[in-house]
Symmetry: C2
Subunit: 136 residues, 2 copies
DNA sequence: GTACAATCTAGAGTAAACTCTAGGTCAAGT
DNA sequence: ACTTGACCTAGAGTTTACTCTAGATTGTAC
């Protein structure tokens, strides 16, 4: 099976513009029909989804480009590609760690806000003061 | 204690350009001395670090701007700010989840590469074939 | 046989978040 | 007095990753 750019866009959820852009950047280069139109292969679906994954994990297009270039060179570059992925894995792992730390910090802040707001509310309910500026 | 923009930049690791940009965007507005120069307060350090955290967790500057505006309005906006953070927390939590899924996928791929490469090596060592194109 | 829908290319435009330049002020050291 | 270094503003330039426009072509439906 092979797909026109419109179909491929619909299947993958990536705009036609972006697909053409990715081609210009040598990420994914579909075959062409006799009339010059793009013809994406079945296997391109998995490939573009992998590209998506790399992007979603923060890999810049220049990096993905390098990976794509290796891939295009065939099996002899498998080790290099694995190397790239292993490196990227480490970066990703670290980023997740950072985000988790940020999350816990955010939780602390939210907890703090919650208690402060409760204090305010209590004060108002107790009528001990009419001022709103109770929590600073 | 208060700091010149140069000192504040050195302390926080944020470039002078960026600090001025953040001011233009109303994220952090330092006091001014009589001569018109910026004078950052001690408390601005914690504030900019919090801004950094929001940025690192993917909050766009427009959002941070809203938060800063609320903060500038004082204690009466605490509940709104908490609301914002709670929402952002949820987004962050989800993003971490996605990244973890991506990580595990990446691991699978790396494992696959590793075994494929091993197969190749074994084949070569066994002299069963001289071809390199063993793993596709 | 003509309208239309989808495609093509080259190149311009956009948005976000900086980053830098030019031209000017001002206080401190020599 | 004068140079130097840090600071000021307004506005231009950069980078990344798209996104869109204009003008041409092509295959299909009526």
């Amino acid at each position: 099976m092979n797909y026109s750019i419109g179909d491929f866009s619909a299947i993958t959820g990536i705009s036609i513009y972006t697909l053409r852009y990715y081609e210009k950047e040598s990420l994914i280069i579909p075959a062409r029909k006799e009339n010059g139109r793009r013809s994406y292969a079945e296997s391109d679906i998995a490939w573009i989804q992998f590209i998506k994954r790399l992007k979603d994990t923060g890999m810049p297009i220049r990096e993905i480009q390098k990976y794509a270039k290796l891939r295009a060179q065939g099996v002899t570059t498998m080790a290099d590609r694995m190397e790239m992925l292993a490196r990227h894995r480490a970066v990703l792992k670290e980023e997740i760690g950072k985000l988790e730390e940020h999350l816990s910090n955010l939780d602390d802040k939210i907890t703090y806000y919650r208690t402060e707001i409760r204090k305010c509310t209590n004060l108002r309910e107790d009528r001990r003061t009419a001022e709103v500026s109770c929590c600073t």
